[in-house]
Amino acid sequence: MPLSLIFLVLLGLGLGAFALGRSKGAAMASAPGAGGGGRIGSVHSRPNYHGAFVALVALAPALLLVASWAAVGDGVIAERVIASVPEATRPATELDRSAFMNEVQGLVSGDMEAGFNPDAEVAAKLFVTTRGTYNLIVGALAAALFAMGGLWAFSRLRPQFRARNSVERAVKWLLVASSLVAILTTFGIVMSLVFESFRFFQSVSPVEFLTGTTWSPQTAMRADQVGSSGAFGAVPLFWGTIFIGAIIAMVVAIPLGLMSAIYLTQYAPSQVRRYLKPLLELLAGVPTVVYGFFAALTVAPAVRDFAVSLGMTDASSESALAAGLVMGIMIIPFVSSMADDALTAVPQAMRDGSLAMGATRSETVRRVLVPAALPGIVGGVLLAISRAIGETMIVVMAAGLAANLEINPFKSVTTVTTQIVALLTGDQEFDSPKTLSAFALGLVLFVITLILNIYALSVVKKYREAYE
């Protein structure tokens, strides 16, 4: 009996328990005599709460049991199966064991016709029977728990029983648990990044990583090169990320985004605004992989041809400029909407005052609105930068892999995100410094974007409060 079936059966039984509890609740409410008689208030809780109470008490422990078995079950069965293999041929190391179990799993699911290891076929049969027995035991236990919980809960139903309060307490705990998922996720991110980075920094010194100027993770695959100087110097990556995300992209996005926002908020007739604003939002909704394709197929060759026409014979077809330009376009709607918010938050009185003094609208914008909205705009730009340096697909598809310290925008640079993708796709051992370095890069990226975000959000918040 597969676990999913047990799960479904339990849910079905739960529905039955709900119906039973509900009907008893309804019966109590309509029963004549002491406390009954269908009078409102004679029964504390409505029938649905009686049903939900029974179902909850019956289901919760049983489901908990099945879920925890689903988490640890495979390990327990694997343990049994491996223990059954004759001592002489039993896989010893962790890697062998997992390879062996993969083979067994393949045989069981029918993906593999025959095993390479003769033991695997025997083990596969044992695996199936063991799994069947254990699942049966778990199923029976779950059913017993369900019955016990259900009977106990059912026996407690009385007109005066506060079923609603119990159910609501459970619901409230569920709400609390849901809100804890966000903390768990943050915790998971920090722990996995820190843990894997720590393992990386055991073989490469952090100083070396943060200040070295040579990045060539491939060479570190050779045993004699591990931790050798220069292999994991991430400065070219940081430079490439800043160059593309914080410089080129912003040169495109800040003027265009800011001017669009000014036009939309100050000049555009409401009709125009109604059509142009969704258009900008549309630009924001295009998936980044589409921008990446556009950058690689259309913009990059054009940029290269332009550079060649300028007389640069060695212009790269994976230039920083192409990736940065397209990334800038991607960021325009973001900058525009942040600037839009900042400008509309400036009190109308300041605008009116300026106009009443005889200033033209552009003078009002340049000398009153923008200076007043500057903290908000700067906060928005910082958020945009944080977004640009974390953006992955455009640079993966349009920027190069060569880690150069290059200030010529027609040459190729690489970024942190490009390297993370390059390091972690394809099959490689998980423990090599090459793979682990991706987590160290991720940690740097996470910390920098986090600082930018927190700082920018506090700037924006303080600015809003100043005018409220």
Binding site: S179, A182, T186, P287, F293
Partner: protein
């Protein structure tokens, strides 16, 4: 303010000179100096205004150009070229023993026959064109014969998919004026194509393969359906987890949470998670789901889990805004007639906030659908020729399929990539329109 204005007009200072101390002369607005100054200010005004418009139009132009290039390259991806071949289902070539068809193993015999040889023979009859059909064209023959075994020994005219270069030639994707070396297609293919064309053996029509099949190494046999199904499975997991958890978290934070350090921590976490680069979630999925929990690589289950964590903050934030917008009087009224706080929330507040919550959810789902980077890290870039069978079998999703095809050097994949982008964008557009419709239709202003 005044000093700022005067600084733009140097002549201004001269006019104020005659002012007697303590008394200010009235500005002579009709003086030539003043007039030119006003003109300059109006010019500056117009310039500024049109710069703003130009910036906006430039952004729109980028969008237009992007869509234009993609539609131009991609619409032909929905078409395919077929070659008409005359096939004789010869049992000898097929290596089928006609007697075997009467035995119970008939189906097996039909399935394992040598259709490739049959195809080669049929194409050979076309004359000079020896290599014009797709490598997978024989599948059509198998389909036909399995559907109707009586065809064995008979001759039939069949339209089979042409190979990629012939297909591209039929769509005019090559510049035939260029020399053979640079144009990307050999003279042999061009002459085959012209010959077939003249004999009327080519037709270009709707590409059934593209909308029903999964990935392939041959552009003419590659389809989008597998990736679309992978996206659907992944998004089912994502919405199944992130919607209930997100809404419940929002309810707790907005309606029940006391203000203390814990809830502050939760809020800070949610706000920061919303801004964490998506690739970080990929690293999380790799380290936690794959390496720690040992879940299968490339599976929609893991992809869905990772995207659910990524979408969660979006849904929480949108739901909180929607819940906050429900006026307190509703809550007071419900409490006043004896509802419990939980009843107030679930029977009054949530139904009223639902349009806003759903809008936020759809926008979050649209983002998850377009997300690529985290899925690359958890191995959803696998080359999968089968449509995914379930939540734990290897699959790919639409944006990753776009990425994989865009990386392929074969020319035929350019139009496939663009066509896949069109599919993706159309789905996204539908989702966003639904969100906007919901917002306009059901959202109440209080």
């Amino acid at each position: 303010m005044n000093s700022a204005l005067t600084s733009t007009a140097p002549t201004d200072g001269a006019e104020r000179q005659p002012a007697v101390a303590g008394k200010r002369l009235q500005t002579d607005w009709s003086s030539p100096a003043m007039r030119s100054r006003v003109r300059a200010r109006y010019r500056a005004e117009a310039t500024f205004r049109y710069t703003g418009l130009a910036a906006l139009l430039l952004a729109a132009l980028f969008l237009g150009f992007l869509l234009f290039t993609i539609v131009r390259d991609g619409w032909t991806g929905f078409q395919s070229t077929d070659v008409k071949v005359s096939v004789t289902y010869d049992p000898a070539t097929l290596m089928i023993d006609p007697a075997a068809l009467k035995t119970p193993e008939a189906a097996q015999a039909l399935r394992s026959a040598d259709y490739a040889a049959l195809m080669i023979e049929a194409v050979g009859q076309l004359g000079g064109a020896a290599d014009v059909v797709s490598e997978g064209a024989w599948l059509i023959l198998r389909e036909n014969l399995e559907a109707d075994p009586t065809l064995l020994g008979k001759t039939q005219s069949v339209w089979v998919p042409a190979k990629s270069n012939i297909d591209l030639l039929a769509k005019g994707k090559f510049d035939l004026a260029e020399p053979e070396l640079t144009r990307g297609v050999s003279d042999d293919d061009v002459s085959d194509y012209t010959q077939l064309k003249q004999r009327g053996l080519l037709r270009t029509g709707f590409n059934r393969i593209f909308v029903t099949m999964a990935d392939s190494t041959n552009p003419e046999l590659a389809g989008i359906w597998g990736a679309a199904l992978g996206s659907l499975l992944t998004l089912l997991i994502t919405i199944g987890l992130s919607f209930p958890i997100g809404v419940m978290a929002a309810i707790y934070l907005e309606e029940f949470a006391p203000r203390n350090r814990w809830t502050d921590l939760i809020e800070v976490s949610i706000n920061n998670l919303a801004a964490v680069p998506s690739i970080i979630f990929g690293l999380l999925g790799l380290a936690v789901f794959l390496n720690f929990f040992g879940m299968p690589r490339s599976a929609p289950l893991v992809g869905g889990l990772t995207l659910a964590l990524m979408t969660l903050p979006v849904i929480v934030i949108a739901s909180r805004v929607a819940i906050k917008a429900v006026p307190p009087s509703i809550r007071d009224a419900a409490l006043g007639i004896g509802s419990s706080p939980i009843q107030v929330v679930f029977q009054h507040v949530i139904p009223m906030a639902l349009p806003g919550i759903l809008t936020g959810t759809i926008i979050g789902m649209a983002r998850a659908l377009g997300e690529t980077a985290p899925l690359l890290l958890i191995g959803m870039r696998a080359f999968v020729v089968d449509t995914p069978q379930g939540f734990e079998s290897p699959a790919t999703v639409l944006p990753v399929q776009v990425f994989l095809w865009s990386d392929d050097v074969q020319r035929g994949f350019i139009e496939k990539t663009s066509a896949a982008i069109i599919v993706l964008l159309v789905i996204l557009l539908l989702m966003n329109s639904l969100a906007i419709y919901l917002r306009n239709k059901f959202e109440r202003r209080w």
